[in-house]
Structures are given as C-alpha cells and as structure tokens.
C-alpha cells in the first residue's frame, strides 16, 4: 500500500443495501450489501457468472435492480432520470472491451462528455483530454482513431476518457481480460497510479497481484451472493469459506 493513501472513514461513496436483481426467473443478485468509503479500493472476484459485472453495473444503472437501495455519493438511485445522470457524471466506468467510439479520434473520445455533459468549452475540454492522455502516457496518439491503436493503448484511452469527467468513483469490469499478456502490465500500471492518487475504485478483476498490492478489501462473490470479504493478506492466506478456498486454489495454481 502506498504512503499517501487515505481512506475517509466517515464518507460513504457507495452504499448497497439488500440489493436483489432478477433476469426473468433467474435470481442474479441475492441480498448484496456493500459499503465503499471515499478513497477505498475494492477488488471483486469470483467464478464466471457469479454476478460481479451485474453488481458494479447496478451502481451506475446500466442494470436496474428490483429490490433494495443503492446510494451513490449521497444520491439514491431510482427511476428519476436526473438522479441517474447525476450519478453517471460522478461514476466512471471502464469496460472489458474498451468500447471506444470508433468514429471519433482519441482526443474527441475524451472531450465528448466534458463538452456535452459538463458544457465545457471545446478548447478547455481538449486541454483536459490532453492532460489525462498524458497521464496514461498516450498523448502522442491523440489524433488517431481507436481502430489504429493496440488493445492496451485503447484501454488506457478508455481510462483517460472516464477520468476527463473528473469522477468520484471508478468502476472497472475486467479491464485486462481482453488483453494480450504483454499489454496487461501497461494498463495495471495506470490503475495502480490512479489508486495511489486516492481514487475510489471498485475493480472486478482476476489479477490477484493487483488485488494484493492495491486493494483495501477483496470481495468474493459466488452465485449472486457476497460470500466473503476481507483485507487482501487475510483473504489470500486465510480464506474462511470452502468456496473461496476452492476458487483461490484454482486461480492461483494454474
């Protein structure tokens, strides 16, 4: 853990209380309770189909939950479009498949939301974009189109694009699983740096090295439930439930 890192105990950024979600008959999330404090870094792991993506996608309402409360930075998520848009402005998200806009240059990808959501003047928005592109070390690609970049570069642009909105929280949904091994590190480096700067982060990832060095808490999900959560050292060395042990032995021993 870095020295500068500070968790503000009294400020909750995300609060999920008794969240339930169904896809038709299928019960994807069962009574999920999760509190994330400002500055905290959470890693969520678990087997495929356990509801990790669904959980974090509920936080910015890409998925709608049917029961329970989700409160993000003091705003309760409901069907009010204004609330949803307020929350989305404060919550950045990075996807497994980058989802950059292929018809816009890297710079335009980054400046789009500041211009249209924050109503920032274009020049200023482009300055912001360049600032974050420099931070993810890709400023020399600013005028290229996403299709002209490698996977790792695209993912770094996607991170910069989210940061341009100056979010309070960043959600990562398996940001490195679509990448070739040699590109994983460049993306993880950016994420570690972000964590060091005190960003509140919730990451779904199977990068256990990242979890060990960066996370304040690791959460293990299975079949739509949070089975176990603990600080990384305990989580990896002394897992409590059998399912966690089975999962860890699988993921660490291959």
């Amino acid at each position: 853990m870095s020295m500068t890192h500070q968790v503000e105990d009294d400020k909750l950024m995300v609060e999920m209380r008794g969240v339930n979600k169904w896809y038709g008959q299928f019960h994807v999330l069962k009574d999920v309770n999760l509190e994330v404090k400002k500055g905290e870094r959470i890693v969520i792991c678990g087997p495929s189909g356990s509801g990790k993506s669904t959980t974090i996608r509920c936080i910015n309402r890409l998925e709608e939950h049917q029961k329970g409360d989700i409160i993000v930075d003091g705003t309760t998520l409901n069907n009010d479009l204004k609330n949803i848009e307020t929350i989305r402005r404060e919550v950045g998200m990075v996807f497994q498949h980058f989802n950059l806009f292929p018809h816009l240059t890297v710079l335009e990808n980054c400046a789009l939301a500041p211009i249209w959501v924050r109503k920032t003047p274009r020049d200023e928005a482009e300055e912001i974009a360049m600032k974050y592109l420099r931070r993810v070390k890709i400023e020399e690609q600013a005028l290229k189109y996403p299709g002209q970049l490698s996977g790792g570069q695209q993912q770094r642009v996607a991170i910069a694009r989210s940061l341009c909105m100056n979010p309070q929280i960043m959600l990562f949904d398996e940001p490195t699983s679509a990448l070739d091994p040699e590109m994983i590190k460049e993306v993880l480096d950016v994420m570690v740096e972000l964590a060091d700067e005190g960003m509140t982060m919730i990451c779904v990832t199977h990068e256990m090295g990242f979890a060990k060095t960066v996370a304040d808490r690791v959460i293990f999900m299975d079949k739509g439930q949070i089975i176990e959560e603990n600080e990384p050292h305990e989580f990896f060395n002394n897992p409590q439930s059998e399912r966690t042990q089975a999962f860890l032995s699988q993921i660490l021993n291959h």
Binding site: E85, M93, L112, W116, V117, K119, R122, Y145
Partner: protein
C-alpha cells in the same frame, strides 16, 4: 532439383497454364473477342432487318408533331408539340414521382425502422407488421390496390370529400387552391432567403460560441422563428401580395387550383410505402449493428439518451445504412416505370410507350430511355458515394 531440370523443356506449355496472370490474360482476351463478336452480330442483324423493312434510322422524328395528349405535364405541352417534347414531359414526370417517392419512403422508412426498435410492444409490433406486409406483396399489385381499390372507389366530383376548406378529393384526383403571386411577393422570397443566410450565420456563431464558452444556443427555435417569421412580416408589410385560385365545381368537374391526378397519387403511395418497408429494415439493422457497448459507454459518461443517439449511435449507423439505402433509391426510380400499368405519364409510358408505337423508332427511343435511367442511377450513386465518403469511418 534434378528431376525438375530434366522436365523443364516439355513443362513449358504446362507452366503457362499454371501462371495465374497469364491465364487471366488469356481468358479476358477470349471474353472480349466473344463479346465483340456478339455485339457485331446483333448490330449487323438489326441494320439488315431495318433496311429490309424500310425503316429509317436517326433522330429526325423528335421534331415531328406528336399529336397525342398527356394528362399531366410540368411544362407546356399540347397535342401539336413535338415528339422531342414528349420525352421531356415524360422525363419530368418520372423525376417528379421519383423525388416525391424518395422523400416519402425515407421519412416513413426511418420512422418505421426506429419504431421496430421501440420498447413499446404495440409500436414495435405495428412496425414489424408494416414491414412484413408491404415488402412481401409485389409492387405491381400494390399499385393496382391503391389505384383501383382505393382511389377508384372515391366519390364522383359532385360528391367530393372536402376534408379542409377548398380542398376536394374525388375519383378524378386531389384538388387544392393554387397560390397566385402578386406584385411585391418577390420581397417575401427575398426575406426568406435573407432568413436562410441569417440562420447559417447564427449556426456558425453558436457553434463557435459553444466551442469557446460551452454555452448552448437554442438554434432550432431561433431558426424556425426566423425562417417563418421574417417572410410573414414582410408579407404583411407588402399588403399580402398573394391570392389563392380555388378549385370550383363547373359541370361535372373542378376547374382552377392545383390537381394531383389519381395515377400520380397511387404510384407515389405504392412506391413510397413499398420502398419504405425495405428502408425500415435497413435502418433497423443499421442501428442494431452498433454494439450495445457503445450505448453503454456513452450512457456511463452521463450523456442523456437523446445525445447518445445523436453523438454516438446515429453517426455510426448512418455509415452502415447509406450503401443499401442507395440501392433502394435506385430501385424506386427504376420501379417508377411501372407507371405504365395505370397510365401515369412517366418516361416509359409516354416516350417508350406512345411515342415509340407511333413512330416505330424502337432503337432510338429505347436507347434514349435506357440512357436516362442509367444517367439518373449513376447520378444518385455518385451523390450517395460522395455523402458516404464524407462520413467514412477511419479504421485500421
């Protein structure tokens, strides 16, 4: 290898066959010779036939008097006009119904295509029913349906429907008042043109201001106000320099005003409704081709639903939609030649029909007609290609 070296003299001819480039040249030369021979045969045969029947060739017939009437003409035309003029009358009528059809088909098609994607069950179902019904019935049948079953079933002029004041619908067509422009109406036109210029200026200014300050300007309403308001004010100042020539019933029919003949209405309806069904499918698949990841990423940034559509989905979908949309436009233009079936005086019906029959100049007439459709199609394609390259996607 030694065995290869031994074979090399005798392998020479086989080698020729195995070289794709040489083989291609051989096949292409054979093809060209065959085509030239075929064309030459046809030309010779035709000339021989024409000669033996004593038919003159050439375009002199175009200046002879036509001697037949045409029910709808956008330019002055009487029975004493020339055959050349029938060409232009037909051409303009073809252009008229094609232009009207392209506009209507585009509007209906986009509305139906987007409606098919609606979350509202009823709207989506109505739109898919529309598509399935109208694209699966032959166009000719649809033309007959509108012409004979719907428009022919309208009341006689004396029992005309009058949905709005001075607008009459009956079996002979749709009759509307025609504007008569008086002195000073030119100023109204000038005012409108000024408004257009002003709107372009304001649009530039507001984009620049948005770039600089981020502030949005209510461009749509300003533009609407200027384009409508300014000409209205000038119209009022000039003392309303426009009157209406209303259609009035005289004897068995209406006189005065403007008329849309039922042949045009039926053809227009059938062409637009039929083509719109295909356009709806193109629009739907174009929008669906944009992955949900794009919408999710844009929404996650806080963009509202309408901005997600406008800034992310539509610009990408348009590029997928334009090429197949072009072929639908070309189909519509060519399908307009089905006009003959109900007697709408388009190019084929007038020129390749009546004119050809009366003059017997089959080769010249068909040649001119084909040339018109070819030119039209190439122009439309060229325009759409230009439009598409302007939006071209830069990708690896």
């Amino acid at each position: 290898m030694p065995s290869d070296a031994n074979k090399s003299p005798s392998a020479h001819t086989t080698r020729f066959w195995h070289d794709p480039a040489k083989r291609a040249i051989l096949f292409q030369s054979l093809l060209v010779i065959a085509v030239l021979g075929f064309v030459g045969m046809i030309v010779q045969n035709t000339l021989h036939n024409l000669e033996s029947r004593g038919i003159t060739t050439g375009f002199a017939f175009l200046s002879q008097e036509a001697g037949f009437g045409i029910v709808q003409s956008l330019i002055d035309y009487t029975e004493s006009s020339s055959y050349g003029r029938t060409f232009f009358v037909g051409l303009l009528n073809t252009l008229l119904v094609s232009a009207l059809g392209v506009v209507a088909a585009t509007v209906i098609g986009f509305v139906m295509g987007i409606a098919r994607l609606s979350n509202n069950w009823l709207i989506a179902k109505v739109a898919s029913a529309y598509v399935e019904i109208f694209r699966n019935i032959p166009l000719l049948i649809q033309i007959f349906f509108w012409y004979f079953a719907v428009l022919r079933a309208l009341p006689s002029p004396r029992q005309s429907l009058e949905p709005l004041d001075n607008i009459f619908i009956n079996v002979r067509g749709l009759y509307m008042p025609e504007p008569i422009y008086g002195d000073g109406f030119g100023w109204v036109v000038v005012a409108f043109l000024l408004a257009v210029v002003a709107v372009i200026g304001i649009a530039r200014w507001s984009k620049k201001r948005q770039d600089e300050t981020g502030q949005r300007f209510p461009l749509f309403w300003t533009a609407a106000g200027l384009l409508i308001g300014l000409p209205l004010v000038v119209y009022w100042i000039m003392g309303s320099p426009m009157t209406w020539d209303n259609p009035v019933l005289k004897g068995f029919n209406f006189r005065g005003g403007m008329t849309i003949i039922p042949e045009l209405a039926a053809l227009w309806l059938a062409l637009s409704i039929y083509t719109a069904a295909f356009i709806a499918e193109i629009v739907r698949s174009g929008i669906e081709a944009i992955s949900s990841g794009q919408t999710e990423a844009a929404s996650a940034l806080g963009l509202s639903k309408s901005k997600v559509l406008r800034l992310v989905v539509v610009p990408q979908a348009v590029r997928v939609i334009i090429p197949p949309l072009t072929s639908q436009y070309l189909n519509l233009i060519k399908n307009s030649s089905l006009a003959t079936a109900i007697g709408y005086p388009d190019l084929v019906s007038v020129f390749a029909g009546t004119t050809l029959n009366q003059t017997g100049q089959a080769i010249e007439v068909i040649f001119m007609t084909m040339l018109v459709y070819l030119t039209l199609s190439l122009l439309v394609s060229a325009f759409m290609n230009w439009f598409n390259t302007r939006m071209a996607l830069v990708e690896r």
